[in-house]
């Protein structure tokens, strides 16, 4: 045995064990770092019936919310790391009603594919991510709201030079949307001869439109009007509008009390004008849509 385990050999194999151990430690450490830690500071203000989500959150003094980072007007991450948008405003209203300070709200990015799983698994307390209420989703998620009905819009070059006003005008044109997005289903159904171009993000599509590589971009009204808002000399919105969808807040399926709590909070904010103020700050600025009175669906 001593022939093989010579001191020189032993030293180098020890070095590799050390390196491997360091690597594993680093991995564990970063795993620890990447999972969010929920702080617990006891809340002081409102009290709720025990056993409700509101009571749990108020007691914990913190909540985790799923939002989008790139939905202008709804929920957007700004350059310096803060968040803005109507979804954020509503989140703040709910937090206030629960007695949770703004800085104790944990924001998690949810993308379209993982919104339902995140709620079902309890990874987030609710989702406010320009969340469209659809029958398929209502099977697994309970929706509070809706607080706005949005549409899918078409972004075109300034002044709409190709006069894209109806679906018939879209025929034979080049339409851009995010790869795999549901907008393509609408295009296939309504303008089957249009060429469909899938890019990675809305921003890429907007750039392609500017480069005249595509004729229009299909996306949600929030994103599309966001571009018109940022660069009014380059873009316009086409009058063609489709896919109206009520936008609400998603909570765990069956949590009727929490759903009603959120509805009540929004209702109160509407009565004392806070809702309209938040709207004007966010959605009105980017999309130009005036505040709509919320028309709640029953919590189910």
């Amino acid at each position: 045995m001593n022939i093989i385990h010579s001191t020189k050999f032993r030293k180098s194999s020890a070095r590799w064990k050390f390196a491997a151990a360091t690597a594993v430690l680093v991995a564990l450490a970063t795993a620890g770092c990447s999972s969010s830690s929920a702080g617990t500071t006891p809340g002081s203000a409102p009290t709720f019936a025990s056993g409700t989500t509101m009571a749990r959150l108020a007691k914990a003094g913190t909540m985790t919310v799923g939002i989008k980072f790139d939905a202008p007007g709804f929920s957007e991450k700004t350059l310096d790391g803060s968040y803005q948008g109507m979804d954020i405003e509503i989140t703040n209203m709910v937090a206030k009603a629960l007695g949770i300070p703004d800085n104790k709200i944990q924001y998690t990015e949810t993308i379209s594919a993982n919104r339902e799983p995140f709620i079902e698994q309890g990874k987030v307390d609710f989702v406010a991510a320009s969340y469209g209420i659809e029958p398929d989703r209502q099977k697994v998620v309970t929706f509070a709201g809706p607080y706005i009905t949005t549409t899918q819009n078409m972004l075109v070059a300034k002044g709409n030079p190709e006069h894209i006003d109806t679906w018939a005008d879209v025929q034979g044109k080049r339409v851009c949307a995010i790869t795999g997005s549901s907008n393509f289903q609408d295009v296939t159904a309504n303008a089957p001869t249009a060429t469909q171009v899938g890019l990675a993000t809305d921003a890429d599509c907007a750039q392609a439109l500017k480069n005249k590589q595509v004729d229009l971009v299909a996306g949600s009204v929030g994103s599309m009007s966001g571009y018109v808002h940022k660069e009014p000399d380059a873009y316009s919105l086409s009058p063609l509008v489709y896919g109206s969808e009520p936008i609400g807040i998603g909570v765990k399926k069956g949590d009727i009390k929490f759903c009603q709590f959120i509805d009540t909070t929004i209702q109160k904010a509407y009565s004392d004008g806070q809702f309209q103020k938040s709207w004007n700050k966010t959605l009105k600025t980017t999309t130009g849509i005036a505040p709509q009175k919320p028309n709640f669906i029953p919590c189910a």
């Binding site: 093989i4 690597a23 790139d70 700004t78 790391g81 594919a113 993982n114 993000t201 921003a203 940022k230």
Partner: protein, 278 residues
Amino acid sequence: MSTLLHDAPGPRAKRTSLLLNIIAALAAAAGIIWILIKLASKGQLGAAHWAIIGDPTVIALLINGLGATLLVAVCAMALSLILGVILAAGRLSRRVWLRVPARVAVELLRGLPVLMLIFFIYLALPLIGIVISSFWALVLGVSLYNGALIAEIFRSGVNALPHGQSEAAESLGLRSSQIMRYILLPQAVRSMLPALISQLVVIVKESSLGFIVGYAEFARDGNAVVNYLGTLYALPVYTEIAVVYIVINILLSQIATRVEKRSRQRYGRAAQQVLDTE
């Protein structure tokens, strides 16, 4: 090779060479100037837009994104190593029921795009109840592929070792798993180290795929800047991102080359072959 291929230049060859040098340099310069003129005519070279590179909030965001990318790369490297060792042990095992599944796993993972693996993790796992964050989906996706590659690196490293090593170990009574652990793998790792470091470069590059999946890393934060400020900033931001990636990867490759030079003195061609294919 090139010194042997080409004679020491005489006076005529020197003149031709000088001429060619000048022509080539002029052509390259002309090409670059043409690109710059085109960009300027489209208003892409506005100083205000390029100043965005120096803007502190943008830099802070990009550094954040860079940290996120490096985090993915480090975790993916660790995970790939672990996976690689497991798969390599499987492939080199004497037991068929370990060898065959390992072979199948390696072939599968080497043949599928990382984007598909990430997608699979994102969409399929929730259906069996495992919800995974975009960070771990990205890390896993990158690690699965690179783990398979590292397994192959280990395997070729072990196979390149002189047979005498394992024969001697066997004659001393070591079990095959002990031979692997104490004799073969440590030496294989040492000889394959340059190739492993080159894998780091691959991992860093593949972690940039996060922006397609939605993980906030370097390329995606660049995208976020463009999203937020408008498409006029796309060129400067993406150029900055490209330059940073290139610099990081060149540094890593330099480390790999230096390690390879040192180990070449000891272990010969095996490392060189693996290095050049990826």
